[in-house]
């Protein structure tokens, strides 16, 4: 398997032994403009990941020949810092912690929605080049001062509750990218379960009221079937 070269999207390595799952992930990612390589077992995955510069690795946990966590540990030992999104059928919190401790950057439980995978993958791939500590965030005419904990839009102060502030911060750090409800629940509230009522939607609509009401261009967009994004155009 020779890695793809050229093109624009993100370079992704999928290490997954299930042919069909890998196939549909590759197809979906390809259609979204990304370049995909596939490895069907741990050894091949480790080899490809050490030899080629990927933007992100999607790594299944249960793999033939070499277990996913072992691949991850080997990569981190070699100094390969490529972001890794772990896929696993093991859903409970303790397993998730184990995966993240081994050097994973995100953890997604099977079965997952493709939109969820795509959103997490794009956010992770972009994060790899992120700078260190930031004190100010901004998007379009929206500004956030992380030290003074103040938010302004077009120079006009916006009063936010602490949680709304954190929600907006999370979105601003991923401006232009789609974030799912689960990502918000995990990233802003640190909860890893599915609240039956769509509590996140209500929080988003409150935030939208505060930052978009009275402005011509809405910034907080709903991405149908996926989640939300801070974007100038829908």
């Amino acid at each position: 398997m020779v890695p793809n070269r050229g093109g624009s999207g993100v370079r992704v390595l999928i290490v997954e032994d299930d042919e069909k799952t890998a196939g549909y992930m590759a197809k979906g990612l390809g259609e979204s403009g990304h370049l995909v390589d596939r490895a069907a077992d741990g050894h091949e995955g480790l080899f490809l990941a050490s030899e080629n510069p990927y933007d992100i690795i999607v790594l299944d946990r249960m793999l033939p020949k070499l277990d996913g966590l072992a691949v991850l540990q080997a990569l981190r030992t070699q100094g390969v810092g490529t972001p890794v999104l772990i896929l696993s059928a093991l859903a409970n919190v303790d397993e998730r912690v184990k995966g993240l401790k081994a050097g994973g950057d995100d953890y997604l439980t099977k079965p997952f929605a493709f939109s969820e995978l795509l959103a997490r993958l794009e956010v992770l791939a972009k994060r790899s080049g992120a700078p260190g500590v930031q004190t100010r965030l901004g998007y379009a005419d929206l500004e956030m001062d992380l030290l003074a904990r103040k938010v302004k839009r077009a120079g006009k102060p916006i009063d936010l509750q602490p949680r709304e502030f954190r929600l907006l911060e999370y979105l601003l750090r991923r401006a232009g990218q789609t974030v799912t409800r689960t990502m918000l629940l995990e990233g802003v509230w640190d909860y890893h379960f599915d609240p039956q009522t769509n509590v996140i939607d209500v929080h988003i609509s409150r935030l939208r009221q505060k930052i978009d009401k009275g402005f011509d261009r809405p910034l907080l967009q709903t991405v149908r079937g996926a989640g939300y994004a801070l974007r100038t155009e829908p």
């Binding site: 919190v93 599915d194 609240p195 039956q196 009522t197 929080h203």
Partner: protein, 471 residues
Amino acid sequence: MPSGRSPNHESPSRAARLWGSAGFRFALASTALFAFCVIFIGALIFFSTTTLIERQVSDTVGAELRGLAEQYRQEGRPGLIAAVNRRSGPLGEREGVYLLTDPGGRPVAGNLSGWPAPVEPNGEWVRLTIRRAGDEESSPLLVGARGFLLSDGSRLLVGRDMRAVESFRESLLQILGLGLVVSLAIGSLGGWSLSRRLLRRIDNISATSRQIIGGDLGQRVSRDGNGDEFDRLAISLNQMLDRIEALMTGMRLVTDSLAHDLRSPLTRIKGRIELALRNGEDSESLRQTLEQTLAELDIIQGTFNSLLAIAEAEAGVSRSSLVEIDLRDLAADVAELYQPAAEDRGLVLTADVSTVPLPVRAHRQLLAQAMANLLDNAIKYTLPDGDITLAAKLEEGRPTLVIGDRGPGIPPEQREKVFERFVRLDSSRSHPGSGLGLSLVSAVAKLHGSEIVLSDNNPGLKVVWRFPPSS
């Protein structure tokens, strides 16, 4: 459970079984050790006693010999002959043996007819069998004697009858032998009954195990109640069996529940897809079918995840990942998560947290999920304009969570039932939900060693969740 012993024992013969039992072999080994000790001590007593007695006799004889030699030096040969004759005569030592010979070896005085060959005239103690002169008819005597060479070449022998010493030695041997037999008997009888006792109690445990292997998981090892090692073993085994049974029941419930709640949505999905394929519908209706199917699959996945979370909480596997948290923080957090959703429905959700810390050892994710389920229910069932209260406080030293709603409440007789899986009191199922929310709450409560009481909120439902007091 001795009554439940299986009639057709497939075990080998009783003797073989006894030999094969650790208890019996232990008893046998200890009896052997016991016997060895008795023999060793007996032998020690025997040899030291008899040696001591014989040495006393030989010392006496030695002293007498020196006395007679002294007499010879002072009074000469006639004095010695007189002394020997006196002592060996009827008024002398009854147990004494004396002989004085001239240098040619012929007897001069004493009660022996000739010098016995084993005795050398060098003063050494010698044991020998001999007959006294005059009683050749009776049995020979066992005698210990010393010989002495006088300065004129005459020889003097002094001895003692050792029969008394010998018979003492024999009776001592008999007593010690008897002692050995008795102690062996007591030792082996004790070992036998001890091993019988052990065997019976271990048999009892194996009989129970066989019944459990046979499928009757309700069996328990019977107890003596005397608190010894076997009793403690029985308690531990029974606790282990309780745990296994609870896990098995839980597992069975999960599979039953999966079958129960996944069958109907799977049937719907299958039917819908088959229908769409058979009718050769246009792409728009096919798209609708796919969307409906996806929504249905999300519900199935939700049910699946809830069941796994319940199983996780019930299996107690995450007990190791309990960490100390402040119940106030979690209560405020979850309330804040649900506040906008409540307000959206025209409800007021107020959180009332205590001013003192409420430390609880908790699995944050599962506890948050359980609290979310309770709030979710409260929001779902509270009528418009109603209020929902979430309080976290210290009650009788225990961190306590109280959630009150203004819904229809739960009739007292059904309050226990709602914690079972898939129980939904609303039989019309007009509110969405899997019927697993409260089962998860119940499992999480158990994981935290806490208890939940449902009561009337006048009107509505009041959930009081009490955690163990922090140490």
